[in-house]
Structure formats: structure tokens, C-alpha cells
């Protein structure tokens, strides 16, 4: 048992559209330890979304190896992939991706539905998580009745409810104003403090600066992989 939660070795991925093959990831090596908070940066077309999809077992890769919690994630059935996602990974999206006709509570409880947990039990757990996000009073509201920050907090509660090992956040602050962005980052920090590994894909430098490590992608390869300097860590502390 290593202390890596995610280990990627020489990962390649190409998209084939018609006769053209687009080589998106050209040999990526990443090692993320348990409990780390890492951001992945890169301009559009750098392959960061593809990388995130592979990390989230939403997409497969062509070459290399991906170990999640020391388990090799290769080609697997969709059913198996769904189980892995449910067990290990919590997703947070830029556009929140809440189900519009379900209340905040039902949205949060949905992952537990797929774990065959009884309605009563999962609603109780969901309420607990909403409470942790300070949204207990909003549990009966539909997503359309919530503000952007509230929606993202509901989404975070949903990501957390299945007690994942990793939170994968795809531009979690992309649709939020600065103030709310920092609030969301605060929550993600708190989540990270409970021992859950947080990986954030972002193109906002100030958001990336709030994480411990920044992995920069460019044209399908890792350009830099630096720990954030103390100075910025201090600024994080000030924010908190």
C-alpha cells in the first residue's frame, strides 16, 4: 500500500475523428498522495479536461497506466466504472449539474440511491450533509430557487455523501463571482482537511494559488508541477 491515491504513468490519449487523429495527452506522469489538494491548470486544448475525465473514469485512455487507490483502472465495463465512481469519486462541476426537478435534498441523496440505501436513511444522511453546508433550510427547494453559491454547495454535499476518496472539481468556481468563489474554496479546504484528496481543474490563477500544488498542462504534456510557495499559502490563511 503506497501513499498515492492517484498514480498515472506515461498516459496517452488520442481522439479519432474521421481520418484525423488528435493526440491530446502525450505521456503524462502524475502522482497524487492521500489528502493532497492539487490544481490542474492549462489553457483550453491543453488536455486538462481529458485528463480529468480519465481520472474520473468517465473516459478511457490508450496507453500507460492509471492506479486509483492502488487499483489498476484499465478497460472495464460501464457497470464497474459506475461502481468505482460511486465509491471513490465525488464530482463537482462548473455548471453544478443538479437535476432540475429534484429538490436540494433529493439531489444530495441521489448517489445513495444507487447504493441501494433506503429512502428514509439516505434522506436523513443528505439532510446532515446539507446542514454541514449551511443549507438545511433550503432542503426542499428546487435548484432553480437557489443562488449559484448555494447550488455549488448542494453539489459539493452530493459529491461528499458517498464518502469518496477523491473530489474531482471541474472549474468549480467558473460560474461564480469572486466572493462566492472564495467561499466555495473555503469549503473545499475544509473537505480536504477531513482527509479527502481534492483535485481542481481551473484556469483561474488565484484559485489555483489556494491549493497546495499546481500541475500545469500544455499541449498534452506537463509543463510544470510546483508546490505553491509559502507566501501564497499565507494568503490562504488570511482568507480563512
Amino acid at each position: 500500500m503506497s501513499d498515492s491515491i492517484i498514480k498515472i504513468e506515461d498516459l496517452h490519449k488520442s481522439y479519432i475523428t474521421g481520418k484525423n487523429s488528435l493526440h491530446v495527452l502525450k505521456g503524462i506522469n502524475i502522482d497524487i498522495k492521500h489528502g493532497e489538494m492539487v490544481s490542474i491548470m492549462g489553457s483550453s486544448g491543453s488536455g486538462k479536461s481529458t485528463l480529468l475525465n480519465i481520472l474520473g473514469i468517465l473516459d478511457n485512455y490508450d496507453e500507460g497506466a492509471y492506479f486509483l487507490n492502488d487499483i489498476h483502472i484499465g478497460k472495464m465495463s460501464e457497470k464497474k466504472a459506475a461502481q468505482f465512481r460511486n465509491k471513490y469519486i465525488g464530482f463537482i462541476f462548473q455548471s453544478f449539474n443538479l437535476i432540475s426537478f429534484k429538490t436540494a435534498l433529493e439531489n444530495v441523496a441521489l448517489p445513495l440511491y444507487y447504493q441501494n440505501i433506503s429512502r428514509k436513511k439516505r434522506n436523513a444522511i443528505a439532510l446532515e450533509y446539507l446542514d454541514r453546508m449551511g443549507l438545511k433550510e433550503w432542503s426542499d427547494h428546487l435548484p432553480s430557487e437557489l443562488s449559484g453559491g448555494q447550488k455549488q454547495r448542494v453539489a459539493i454535499a452530493r459529491a461528499l455523501i458517498s464518502k469518496p476518496k477523491i473530489i474531482l472539481a471541474d472549474e468549480p468556481t467558473g460560474a461564480l463571482d469572486t466572493q462566492t468563489s472564495y467561499e466555495v474554496m473555503d469549503i473545499l479546504h475544509e473537505v480536504n482537511r477531513t482527509g479527502i484528496t481534492v483535485i481542481i481543474v481551473t484556469h483561474e490563477t488565484d484559485i489555483a494559488q489556494l491549493t497546495q500544488r499546481i500541475i500545469r498542462l500544455k499541449d498534452g504534456i506537463i509543463e510544470s508541477n510546483d508546490y505553491v510557495t509559502n507566501e501564497t499559502v499565507e494568503s490562504t490563511t488570511i482568507l480563512q
Binding site: L58, D59, K79, S100, L110, Y113, R119, R158
Partner: protein
């Protein structure tokens, strides 16, 4: 399971109007199927009613005129049946159950009860006739062997005779009706199930021949056979023709010498025709349902497309393809199922009302309805078949959309437009 239904209902609630519109086509299909099948049953009952007056495997023999010269005898000779023919057939014809001769008394016979006069046809029959013709006895009995042997002057009448001639006499049994001035004792009152207004008077054949100078003549013969198939009945028919041809010296192939009415043959023919109609009705009904299925399928495909994102989210948070397929399939089955049951109930309800109306019409005197259309109904078996069809329909309708839903890739679904 309840959880699962909750899941489906919450999505259906989103699109109430659409779900109703989709369901309507299925409801309509099932409604039509039930109405068609019920009507088919109604026609069939009407047809069966046409055969209700006689035992279904009976043969009726009428005498005619020869049309071919045969055995040195000229054509155009009248064939007359006598008691001898009856005796002969009873002895020689195999496979028969009951046989009875019939003789009609002349039409201008005066009939009276006290001061009421009437002019009815009187039919002379043998006791066996009671087993060939279907009669619902209200009071008393039919002519028996003792009546026949002892030339008793007894008469069996239908209810309308009691109502009209006997002025609704409450206890007609034992009263005397005069036939041509001769008193006959009423021993039985019955109702013709085919026609409640039928006016008939039966007296023993022996009495009729003796009292009204009938000699030993018989007008025609009624036979019920043991046959269950048309072939068997046909065999008895040709045997009968041969026996009578030899006796009366006419060509067995002479169609006009005697007329034979084979009810089993007619019954089976009619039954065959109705089986055909029934099959046709099923085909039409199922075609209508298929139109409904295509409708449901179409809408489900649109629905899946609209729900791409939702399904993508579900998959991202751990929904397996199988659970997505179940979600769509069950939704489809639920729409078709509920819609179908609505159609089923509406159809059954309409048939029930029509049945009530027809029954009232018949009671009110529209007797001919009995022969055309009677007791339209969709029985339990039809309902079961329809339900099975519905479930299959739902599965078929949901299959393509469900496959599509399962194939949705979360990454594509979740990517921002």
C-alpha cells in the same frame, strides 16, 4: 421497488401533458381492441342465438317432390312421410339420439278457451321432440310416452298462448283448450328461448293423427344425433338419404325429393366464419396498438434526448447502464400500462353500457336484436391478453430509447454547451 417507482413518478410529473398525450395513443389502441373484440363476441352471441332453438347437432328432414325419374318412376312425384318412415329410421339409422315426426294441423282450426277464440297453428309431435327442440318450461311438462301411447288429448303451449287466449290464467295447468271443438287438457307451459313471443301448441302426434284424420302421415322428421363433428353428421345425413331413397324409390342424388337441414353443419360454418372475424379483429386491434407503441417510442426517444444531461449526471454519480435502462423501460411500461388500463376500463365500461341498453331494448320488444348483436363483452381472458400485450408493448416502445439512454457518455452529457 417503491423507491424505484418514486424515481419514475418524479420524472413523469415533469411532463404530465406529454405523458398523457403519449398514453392516449395506447389507451385508444386498447380501447379499440376491447370494443372490437367485445362487438365480435356480441355478433357471435347473436349467431349462437340463431341456433338456440334447436339442439346444435340436429338434422331436419322435409319431404319434397322428385326431380329425376328413377326406378321406372317419373319425376315430379310427391314424397310423403308416414309412421313407417319414422319406424324405419329409428330402426336402421345409426348414431342418432332422438327422432320425432311432426305433423301440422290445418290452419283454419278453431281454437277456443271459454269465450276467447283464436286461429293458431297446432303441431303434432312425439315425446322425443322435447329433447330436440330447446324449450324453457315454466309450468308442467312436455308430452310423455303415456300421452302418446294412449292418444291422450293433452296440449303443451307457450306462455303467450296463456297470456292471450287464456287471459293470463294464473294456473293454466289442468284447464281445457278446445281445438276444433275438442277439449285438450293443458299439461305444460314453456317459453321459446329464441323468441319469447312465439305462439306454439304441441299435441301428441298419435292423438293428432287419430282425432284430426291424419292417418299415419308425418310432414317432416326431426333428429338429434350423437355426432360432434360436421363429418359425422354428414355421414348420418347421407345414410338417412339412402334409407329413405330405397324406401320411397327415388334417386339418392335427387336433391329435391327430400330436403335435409343439418344444423351442425350450419353452426360449424357460422362458427368458422366467426373464428375468421375474430382473428381479423385481433389483427386490426394489434395494428392499432402498434401505432400506439410507435408513438410512445417516438416520444421516449425525444424524452431521452432531453434528459441527456440528467442521465449523464446519474451515470457520473454511480448509475450503472442497467439502472438507466431500467429507468427508461419502466417509465415506458408505466406509461403504456396505465394508459392501457384506462383504455381497457373505458372499453369494458362502454361494452357494459351497450349490453345494458340492448338488454333493455330486447325486454322492451326489440326482439330481433337477439339475432344480430347480443351481450357484447370482453371477458377475463381478453383482459389478461390485453394486459400482456400492454407490457410487451411498453417494453418494445422503451427498448430503443433505453438503449440510447444507456449509451449516453457522461462526459458528453456534462460538457457545457
Amino acid at each position: 421497488m417503491i423507491d424505484f417507482l418514486e424515481e419514475i413518478f418524479s420524472t413523469l410529473k415533469q411532463n404530465k401533458l406529454r405523458a398523457i398525450m403519449t398514453g392516449f395513443s395506447v389507451s385508444w389502441g386498447i380501447f379499440m381492441l376491447i370494443i372490437l373484440l367485445g362487438s365480435g363476441k356480441g355478433l357471435e352471441h347473436g349467431m349462437e342465438h340463431n341456433f338456440a332453438d334447436a339442439v346444435k347437432n340436429s338434422i331436419w328432414v322435409y319431404s319434397g317432390q322428385t326431380s329425376k325419374s328413377h326406378d321406372g318412376l317419373k319425376a315430379g312425384r310427391r314424397i310423403r312421410f308416414t309412421n313407417e318412415d319414422y319406424e324405419l329410421l329409428k330402426r336402421k339409422l345409426s348414431g342418432i339420439d332422438n327422432i320425432s315426426g311432426r305433423l301440422y294441423l290445418y290452419d283454419n282450426l278453431n281454437i277456443n278457451y271459454k269465450n276467447e277464440y283464436a286461429n293458431y297453428q297446432v303441431t303434432c309431435v312425439m315425446p322425443e321432440f322435447g329433447k330436440i327442440q330447446v324449450m324453457n318450461f315454466k309450468k308442467g311438462r312436455f308430452i310423455n310416452q303415456l300421452d302418446f301411447k294412449n292418444f291422450r288429448k293433452v296440449v303443451v303451449i307457450t306462455q303467450p298462448v296463456v297470456d292471450i287466449l287464456m287471459k293470463k290464467e294464473s294456473n293454466p295447468i289442468g284447464k281445457y283448450i278446445k281445438l276444433g271443438g275438442i277439449p285438450f287438457k293443458v299439461v305444460g307451459v314453456f317459453e321459446n328461448p329464441e323468441n319469447v313471443k312465439d305462439i306454439t301448441l304441441y299435441i301428441p302426434l298419435s292423438t293428432g293423427q287419430k282425432v284430426f284424420n291424419g292417418g299415419n302421415r308425418i310432414r317432416n322428421l326431426a333428429i338429434s344425433t350423437k355426432a360432434t363433428t360436421v363429418e359425422e353428421n354428414k355421414a348420418i345425413e347421407s345414410q338417412l338419404r339412402n334409407i329413405l331413397a330405397r324406401k320411397h324409390r327415388f334417386d339418392p342424388d335427387d336433391e329435391k325429393a327430400i330436403y335435409i337441414n343439418n344444423t351442425l353443419e350450419h353452426f360449424k360454418q357460422a362458427q368458422g366464419a366467426f373464428a375468421g372475424i375474430k382473428g381479423f379483429i385481433w389483427v386490426i386491434g394489434i395494428m392499432t396498438i402498434i401505432a400506439g407503441i410507435v408513438g410512445v417510442s417516438n416520444i421516449m426517444i425525444i424524452l431521452v434526448k432531453e434528459r441527456t444531461k440528467e442521465i449523464g449526471i446519474r451515470k457520473a454519480i454511480g448509475a450503472s447502464p442497467a439502472s438507466v435502462i431500467r429507468l427508461i423501460l419502466y417509465e415506458s411500461v408505466l406509461i403504456t400500462g396505465i394508459a392501457g388500463i384506462v383504455g381497457l376500463l373505458l372499453g369494458m365500461g362502454l361494452l357494459f353500457i351497450v349490453d345494458k341498453v340492448i338488454t333493455q331494448m330486447i325486454e322492451g320488444g326489440a326482439d330481433q336484436m337477439n339475432y344480430i348483436f347480443n351481450h357484447p363483452q370482453a371477458d377475463f381472458n381478453i383482459a389478461i391478453s390485453a394486459t400482456i400485450i400492454l407490457i410487451i408493448a411498453g417494453l418494445v416502445a422503451g427498448y430503443v430509447p433505453a438503449k440510447r439512454a444507456a449509451a449516453i457518455k457522461p462526459i458528453e452529457a456534462l460538457h457545457d454547451e
